[in-house]
Symmetry: C2
Subunit: 800 residues, 2 copies
């Protein structure tokens, strides 16, 4: 176990005393006879399971103070408290086991190894004990939560539930703590009236919102709102999605000018809105178990109201699913407008009873991963007031880059044949309410048909349909502070989706990015990393407006190491300037100096029938054949084995001079880390089912962490890119292509942040059909690559 905490904020001694007093660890006036008595006092309070002296004594009797002295014996002795004793006991409180996890007789070394913060005062007096105890409460246990959160999950904070609302929230080390009774959370439903009519029924589309807010809001406490827009959370139509999935075994066509419609019929403004007949502070509808994000569950008992909305085209809302259109963004924003007092909502769709978000302090954050984070990004690009920050995880910033790439139809990794229409149908959860669906069916099917034309799988080019779904065009409008999270192995929502946002956010805002070794996953339950604490610090700063130095203490970039488990590094930016490196192609090598003479290498994209079928069924088989065997359908270039560990950062760029044997063609490329080693498993392991208590008798999460694979593998793909040779200038403009005539193409591969271990080789694979992502025509096209006109560039390459 290695601990990585970035969210512990510097606190003065006086402030520590004040905070310890407020949560009950110190009486308001305290006089302890000596430092051991103070320490004993702290220990006794660390067993929230009982206040009875006999039970607490049993707890203390179980703790070792030294290798062979129990705490009660030490307390009775005349021995003074030492650093060793303080931390031998502290580590047991943090759930570490003597001998197994740490050496009681070499405690400092053990703590350094686990990366636990600690103090080494020259004297253990009451001042230093208070400092050390405070730090200990901020320190993570063996199971991925701070000791304070561990105590919280065992009931330590319940006495504070009954504090007057005016004395809430309470912050500890710059973070809001769980003093809000989960059994008193108010669950309520409202219907926000948008200014849209996407189902073309003249009526303004209503948006169902599910809200959880602290019971204390009824006692005049105003709280910020954490809002998650999730098109999935009222249910999905998976069978429909499967049925619409496109055949991808179709040939690429030569492109000429596009003649068909590239957008859908515009929506008009609603002509009918609901007339307010009454106002109320009480909703009349509740909900039982929302599809929740466990990060929000963590926040819900820490004083943040949580709002979920699925948006237009979902169950119990109006409108249609449009897959990322400006209307969906407007619907997303409408909820924030209501939360901040700028839009109407009603307790039901019909009788005109209006309800305000009177309990909201006007500050809103958005959270969520994938489509959810996408809508957070979309909302932020409108510059809407009141949206103070977004925590956008694995989010799409341009739908073109999700379903297309450089003039090609492109699948999100693992979802061959998916497209905007498939996702629209899958998330059109109005279908789940049978009679509602019956009424909207023809209108939605008409829209779906229009989408299918406009999204244009024929040319794969960028057009009006995709421009309308490109949030990056509006990044300059962003006023919310931004915390991005993305998996360095996310082949579904690819890394350029985050990198483009990162690079182009206005510098008037505060921004942070966390890059982890997962694929398309959440990271809030990792043992090695304090993500939930970081989010708490961040939101306490942005929404409660507490000056906790969140902007200053959190690194701009945190990147998880891909060689060493449970290791997270801080950086100032994704790239660092002045450290770019170019590799030239020669024979089968990537070399440092250019070669003057033209050197041609060829490959042919066609597979024998059976091989083609096998590769389609199992892209992993195609991938390993390509990466590991010499074959006719790809070219492979490698560096020599590295003498130093290399850290490769930024967006690699491939320049290639190529000729296709026909009037159309594509080029794909992959960057490969070659070297036999045990790499991280693709998915984190569950260390403990329900191992994380998000509050006391509240919801739970599974404690997770990456482990090394049990077997060594010879390679790993670290980046890739694809281009249609008729889109050499950009994805919109069609360039001509003549058979066997060389053209120069230049395109970005997916951004990287990758440690190449000593003795490994960097590899570059060049090929055409990508069985996992591109369409698969299996045409007999021969490609010639002129190595002298081809090169690979990585913006930052560092030796370590």
């Amino acid at each position: 176990m290695k601990n990585n905490q970035f969210s512990i904020t510097p606190t003065t001694h006086q402030q520590k005393i004040a905070e310890l007093t407020r949560i009950g660890f110190l009486p308001s006036e305290f006089h302890f006879a000596n430092s051991k008595e103070l320490w004993q006092h702290f220990l006794q309070l660390s067993y929230p399971e009982s206040g009875n002296p006999a039970n607490v004594s049993q707890f203390l009797a179980g703790l070792l103070a030294t290798q062979d002295t129990a705490v009660p014996d030490f307390l009775e002795s005349y021995e003074p408290l030492t650093t060793e004793i303080f931390y031998v006991v502290a580590l047991q409180l943090l759930q570490f086991e003597p001998e197994l996890d740490f050496k009681p007789n070499d405690i400092i070394q053990s703590m350094k190894k686990i990366q636990l913060p600690f103090l080494m005062p020259t004297k253990w007096d009451q001042t230093t004990i208070i400092d050390a105890w405070y730090l200990l409460l901020c320190t993570h246990t063996k199971n991925g939560q701070t000791l304070l959160d561990n105590l919280t999950g065992r009931g330590f904070l319940t006495p504070l539930y009954d504090l007057p609302a005016a004395q809430k929230p309470i912050f500890f080390n710059g973070k809001s703590i769980a003093i809000f009774d989960p059994t008193k959370l108010i669950h309520e439903v409202v219907y926000v009236e948008s200014s849209l009519d996407t189902d073309r029924d003249q009526q303004a589309d209503l948006l169902k919102v599910e809200i959880l807010r602290p019971g204390d809001t009824n006692g005049h406490l105003k709280v910020p709102a954490v809002y998650t827009a999730s098109p999935y959370n009222q249910g999905t139509n998976n069978a429909w999605g499967d049925q619409l999935t496109h055949n991808v075994n179709v040939p690429l066509a030569h492109k000429s000018a596009t003649t068909f419609q590239t957008n859908t019929t515009p929506f008009t403004a609603p002509t009918k809105t609901i007339t307010t007949t009454a106002t109320t502070k009480q909703a009349t509808e509740t909900f039982s178990r929302e599809a929740s994000y466990t990060l929000n569950d963590y926040l819900a008992v820490r004083g943040f109201a949580i709002a979920y909305a699925a948006g237009i085209g979902t169950k119990n809302s109006g409108g249609m699913q449009t897959c990322g259109s400006p209307e969906q963004t407007k619907a997303t924003v409408a909820v924030t407008e209501w939360l901040t007092g700028k839009r109407k909502a009603f307790t039901n769709p019909t009788d005109g009873t209006q309800i305000k978000a009177w309990w909201c302090n006007g500050n809103v954050a958005m959270t969520g991963r994938s489509y959810l984070g996408t809508l957070a990004t979309a909302a932020a690009t409108t510059g809407i007031a009141g949206l103070k920050t977004i925590i956008s995880e694995a989010a799409i910033s341009s739908w073109y880059d999700y379903y297309r790439e450089n003039g090609l139809v492109m699948a999100p990794g693992g979802f061959q044949g998916e497209d905007a229409d498939v996702l629209a149908a899958e998330t059109f959860s109005r279908k789940l309410t049978a009679a509602d669906y019956h009424s909207i069916k023809p209108v939605f099917h008409q829209y779906l048909h229009e989408m299918q034309v406009a999204m244009d799988r024929q040319t794969g080019s960028y057009n009006d349909f995709w421009r309308a779904r490109n949030y990056r065009l509006n990044l300059a409008n962003v006023t919310a502070d931004v915390l991005l999270v993305h998996g360095l192995n996310d082949w579904n929502v690819k890394l350029n989706q985050a990198k483009e946002v990162w690079d182009h956010l206005p510098n008037t805002i505060s921004k942070k990015i966390i890059l982890h070794q997962g694929h398309h996953i959440y990271i809030n339950a990792f043992r090695s990393f304090d993500f939930s604490d970081i989010v708490n610090l961040w939101l306490t700063n942005k929404l409660w407006e507490v000056a906790n130095q969140a902007d200053e203490i959190l690194p701009a970039v945190i990147a998880q190491d891909n060689i060493n488990l449970e290791t997270w590094h801080p950086f100032d930016n994704w790239e660092e300037s002045g450290q770019q490196q170019t590799w030239f192609l020669h024979d089968k090598s990537l070399i440092n100096a250019p070669q003057k003479n033209a050197q041609l290498q060829t490959f042919n994209d066609q597979q024998p029938n059976q091989t083609f079928t096998d590769f389609c069924r199992q892209p992993a088989q195609w991938q390993s054949t390509m990466a590991l065997t010499s074959n006719q359908f790809s070219l492979c270039f490698k560096t020599g084995t590295t003498k130093d560990e290399l850290l490769l950062r930024g967006t690699p760029m491939l320049q290639i001079r190529v000729a296709s044997s026909t009037d159309h063609g594509l080029i794909s490329a992959q960057l490969v880390d070659y070297g036999m080693t045990k790499r991280f498993n693709e998915a984190p392991s569950i260390l403990q089912r329900n191992g994380i208590q998000l509050g006391f008798n509240w919801r739970e999460d599974d404690l997770r962490e990456f482990k090394l694979a049990t077997r060594a593998t010879p390679y790993k793909i670290i980046s890739y890119g694809h281009i249609n040779l008729q889109n050499r200038h950009n994805a919109q403009q069609t360039d001509n292509l003549v058979a066997n005539q060389f053209v120069d193409a230049q395109f970005d591969l997916q951004p990287i942040f990758h440690h190449l271990a000593i003795g490994h080789q960097l590899g570059l694979l060049i090929f055409a059909t990508d069985f996992g992502m591109t369409q698969r025509g299996n045409e007999p096209i021969t490609y010639q690559v002129d190595l002298s006109g081809s090169q690979l560039l990585i913006p930052t390459v560092q030796r370590s």
Copy 2:
């Protein structure tokens, strides 16, 4: 989706009215103008999310009454209610989707296909609507819970939380319903004083018990207790277990008389017990999140108190882990003795404050799987009063058959090298309390060492150590009714563990067994099977003593089909008499008539070095090589392809005449279902994470179901057995064995309940080393099998 419900109990019309009234679906005096009005009343109450007419109307407006009429339009019409309309709406309430899951215009056929119970009254008057509505509430939704439980999870029953304790519990269709407020559950810890001193400190071993009981017990309600004894639930020492795991790559030895100690030093009775200094009704220690069984979670809000105890040798208890010894059984029983008023407990280990289970009605059940179920079985064999029933899942009934077999050291499938000592160390969670462990360490290590001798991995024979751990010797004592559950693919705790109990329980008790297609898993969250309801019906009968016909309506045997998904069949017994079949061995065939002439076939157990290493590392590779290729190390015999589907039931028996080329040897056998087909996946799939609400705002479970594998496989092992050729009479007696001399051995294979599909073949594999389970000496032993003296018998073989 196919629904299988066995727990709906016949109820009179008057009783239905009384129950519907009690849960709030009918007012105590009701007069509806007509049947449609009554139906509308029921529908309106089926939206517990709101009592507001406008919100409820929105809910009704979403329901289709016919293919193209919404419910409100139908209600306003003069059309009468029909079977079709009732069930089109009903299926929507059950979360089925029109067109996707059922055909609104062919509703009867759809319901038959899904196996939903329904009524077809000639007239839909108020009487039949009440009957049909009642049945509907008992019917499972698409997501594996009754409609009533679905409504419960959405808050329907919360108004009943505040009923006076005297009016609780409430039963619906013979089952206790969730009217106990989960936020009012009392969590308390007591320390039961056993009459054991297994840690040899003179003091009676104390046993920590964690109890959840309804808040209503404080209001004079007495409730039954559901008790789970789990040695795991205070934590485990996995690293220690790994470290103790035995090397299994050791040769079998010739056995002569055993000379060493075959039992551990006896424990003596404690000389010191706690003196009661005070009594209390209030515990002084609580707990936060116990390691719970979700079936118990389901029961906890239905009025059953839940008790967990880890027993001797676990964290915060006294004593040592003994892996199944009589002392562990006594410790297990001690908790029941306290629950039934026959033993003392204290609020803490030191000050003598005694506490009674004053809230318990004196009726106790035990639940749990694997080691947990094992201890339930162990407890039942003591015949202890007050233990009314055990629900024993995948339980061990003789530890010899868990770690040994017919004179051989044998691994539980997947756990090569595990033995009683390993499990004792793993579960000795006193180690997790460092100072406590420090005090007990030498005593436990001494015991562990004695175990390691007495369990005897040298001969693998049955001895005093194992006799002490054989609960079957006491099955005649059982007075509790027994519900057994076992996976037909459980290679960990094997099927004979359940079959032996099933066959030898006294016929004075009521017994049931459920055989499912899982391996070593829980089955309480399956979509297709009403296990939780069955348990509720069973426990309501046994613990609340409600005459709900549980014994009569539940089939003696329920066996899940291995060919058809989501299909569960009732049977009267495991076997059926008079249908046994014997196969004789000839050439490579299993044939129906004996062959007179001796026919010898030989195989050699030794593998080339690399193959041996590979097979050790990957037993699956050994298994497929053996089952599918002709090889030197096994013999294979197959029937012809079946013309009818065969149902094979009971304990197969293999008679074999064999000679080993040396003075020791073993014979292993497997029964194989040969035939290329898509079989069930080994593990069920999670259909919906947290898809099952076990109460309202209470704990959750993941909805699961088996799916078919995506690929066809050529075979599946359905049974197996192993014997040491020196244990031809029994596991205790050593028979002589002379090289190359033929001996007759006869041994049982694991019990089966298996459908052999048409066109498949039954196969018998005979070999020696089982890489997954036996020790692996890789000796150059040649075995000769005389086919004329060998035959296979299956007790029940049925054609269908």
